[in-house]
């Protein structure tokens, strides 16, 4: 492999990575993608008293640690190619125990490699553990950001009594649920809780996240990268189709989306939060409510940025590549 290249650890078919790669090519910069189809072999990890040396074999390309200039961690992971292990003679419980053991062994190696890669110039976030959305929400509160009143409950009664007092929405706690079959696509977005729901009588429900419904003037999508905020306001209020979640896109008349400048006070709080959670880059979802208050909804270390990049002409991909090569 050539020297000074960018290692991209990513998922397949990602628009953001695609557009970053275009700029890498444009500047004739070398890069190598590790996606889920590319299994990695370890040539060596040398730890001795003089130096540390790592060499991986990625689909026939031998890559040494010090050839890597920068790393993009984008929803991918390093997976190792493994030999088949003879298990026929083992009893079933033993196989399970052995699998667990081997997995932990591998994990330790991957974590160590990530640890070394993290010392390079980084874009994205090396996800070893998925950041917990509830912890993030509580941290946002701690730095002084306003958050929506939130309730998690598995009691039908408690949710109903809340519903009597105000309009509520529900959304997944951690991730967006995606299910594709040949016939249909199910995606969980944010939705109102219908009053009809109360007709159904169950005592115990699956623990669900309920939030007060905030009347918004507009939504903000904020991409933070290299000490800069790229913010976009989305006006979805006038359009019934997108009142709760603008991802339920209205194709005929796209919502108005325009660049936005955050007040310094909000920038300060967001920076505080970024320091606490230690992200290189991330995207925030916020709401400006009818009282002109800024309400924090969530932060995502690997949020897509293509929409604001194109709509507001931020050229985020270009800036990322300039950063990675600097």
């Amino acid at each position: 492999m050539e020297n000074n290249f960018t290692l991209i650890i990513a998922n397949k078919f990602d628009y953001c990575i695609d557009s970053i790669i275009k700029w890498l090519k444009y500047h004739k910069l070398n890069y190598l993608v590790i996606d889920p189809d590319k299994k990695v072999q370890i040539n060596k990890i040398k730890l001795n008293n003089q130096y540390i040396d790592i060499e991986l074999n990625i689909k026939g390309k031998h890559v040494a640690l010090d050839q890597i200039r920068s790393v993009i961690f984008w929803k991918g992971r390093i997976e190792f190619e493994l030999p088949a292990i003879q298990k026929e003679e083992l009893v079933k419980n033993m196989v399970i125990a052995l699998d667990k053991f081997l997995k932990r062994e591998l994990n330790t190696i991957t974590q160590y490699i990530y640890n070394e890669l993290n010392k390079k110039r980084i874009f994205g976030l090396c996800i070893t553990k998925n950041p917990n959305k509830l912890i993030l929400l509580s941290k946002a509160r701690e730095v002084g950001l306003k958050i929506p009143n939130t309730l998690i409950s598995s009691s039908d009664k408690i949710i109903k009594s809340e519903l009597l007092q105000q309009e509520l929405i529900t959304k997944p706690i951690q991730e967006i649920f995606n299910f594709r079959s040949k016939k249909e696509i199910h995606t969980s977005f944010t939705h109102f809780i219908d009053v009809e729901y109360t007709n159904e009588n169950k005592d115990l429900i699956f623990p669900s996240l309920i939030q007060e419904k905030i009347e918004k003037k507009y939504e903000l999508r904020i991409f933070y990268f290299n000490k800069e905020f790229h913010s976009m306001a989305i006006f979805s209020q006038t359009d019934d189709k997108t009142r709760t979640d603008f991802r339920d896109y209205n194709y005929e008349k796209p919502n108005r989306m325009v660049p936005y400048t955050l007040p310094n006070e909000i920038k300060k709080k967001l920076k505080k939060l970024i320091n606490v959670i230690d992200y290189h880059s991330c995207s925030f979802d916020m709401i400006v409510n009818m009282k002109n208050e800024y309400v924090f909804l969530e932060v995502n270390p690997l949020g897509q940025f293509d929409l604001e990049s194109v709509t507001c002409n931020f050229k985020i991909e270009k800036k990322i590549v300039e950063y990675l090569k600097s």
């Binding site: 444009y26 306001a233 008349k253 796209p254 108005r256 989306m257 660049p259 194109v310 002409n313 050229k315």
Partner: protein, 349 residues
């Protein structure tokens, strides 16, 4: 409470009238210059204040203006403390392609090595190619050429060819099916106009048109149907030429040019590499002729959504003249065919 223009709706002033380009919904609205002045001279708008400034003489007109702006979703009401939160769009332009557009012309005498041409274009990260056949051509020949376009940088490919009785729709669709990046097949000299749109999102379309095309001189038409209202184009043409920026072409004889209709060649594809030509200073100079530099166009309200032509130009053939095939006179704001139209030659600025 005051109003602000959405940043994606950009007013452009012409000699007689102006337009607001809605770069997001890809539309434009003709407005009087009076409204343009109001929009451009203020950060935000309060109808009451404007009425007062005009000594309440134009209340009805001002009401109409705001009704129009609101109905078309061009302005929004903004809290005073948030006026400064809504900046203008940056109009800086760049793209990760050394070549964005390539035209390859073909007639019965052409002997292009398509494999080599496509490879070279792909190395220049070319985004779009257009192959124009001026002679009768079989679909199997087109298919053969397109085989070389697989695994290249091209995001879209347009094919233009003359009508012939043995072109079958079924076969045309088969070609479209096979090459996902084939966007348009345009068939000219056709007896009627037909459009065969395909259901599939990523599939191209076939277009039969009556236009008579003999060679590259048919290029350079300017008309509203080819106006482009997106943000990328709007930004690009602030600084660069609306037709020739990052364009390259190979004419029927293999000459490498800015566009096939140009006289100047930068070498033949047989012995000159496209990359060398792209880096040639002289080759690049047309890129920088923007609409604001071009006579007549610089006074036209359509200048940032209009295409351009630097070959077929009006009058004394200065490289900064208005495209000859433009039928619009911005000094009277009329298209040819409209009542009281007179040409630029009869009535310029």
């Amino acid at each position: 409470m005051v109003y602000k223009l959405f940043a994606c709706c950009i007013p452009v002033k012409g000699y007689r009238r102006s337009i607001i380009v809605d770069t997001q919904r890809m539309n434009y609205f003709i407005i009087p210059n009076g409204l343009y002045e109001i929009l451009i001279n203020n950060e935000c708008y309060s109808p009451e204040k404007i009425k007062k400034e005009l000594e309440f003489k134009y209340n009805k007109v001002i009401n109409e203006y705001f009704e129009f702006l609101l109905n078309n979703d061009l302005i929004f009401s903004c809290a005073i403390e948030q006026i400064n939160c809504f900046p203008k769009l940056s109009l800086k332009w760049d793209a990760p392609h050394h070549i964005i557009n390539a035209i390859i012309d073909v007639n019965e005498k052409s002997q292009h090595d398509y494999n080599s041409i496509f490879n070279q274009l792909s190395n220049l990260l070319c985004k779009h190619i257009e192959i124009r056949f001026f002679n009768k051509v079989t679909l199997s020949f087109i298919s053969e050429i397109l085989l070389y376009s697989d695994y290249k940088s091209f995001q879209s490919i347009d094919i233009i060819l003359p009508y012939s009785i043995d072109l079958s729709i079924v076969e045309l669709n088969k070609v479209l099916d096979k090459y996902s990046r084939l966007t348009n097949i345009v068939i000219f000299n056709s007896p009627d106009i037909t459009e065969i749109k395909n259901e599939g999102e990523d599939k191209g379309q076939v277009l039969f048109i009556k236009n008579k095309i003999v060679d590259c001189t048919s290029c350079g038409e300017i008309n509203p149907s080819s106006f482009t209202m997106n943000l990328d184009f709007f930004c690009e043409v602030q600084t660069f030429n609306s037709c020739l920026n990052r364009k390259i072409s190979i004419d029927v004889t293999g000459q490498i040019k800015n566009c096939p209709s140009m006289a100047q060649s930068f070498g033949n594809i047989k012995n000159t590499s496209l990359e060398n030509v792209v880096n040639n200073k002289e080759f690049k100079c047309f890129r920088n002729i923007k609409k604001d530099d071009i006579e007549v166009c610089k006074d036209c309200e359509y200048r940032y959504i209009c295409s351009d032509c630097r070959v077929y130009v009006r009058g004394h053939k200065d490289v900064f003249s208005q495209p000859a095939k433009c039928k619009y006179n911005p000094y009277i704001a009329k298209w040819e065919g409209e009542k009281d139209y007179v040409s630029i030659e009869q009535k310029g600025s």
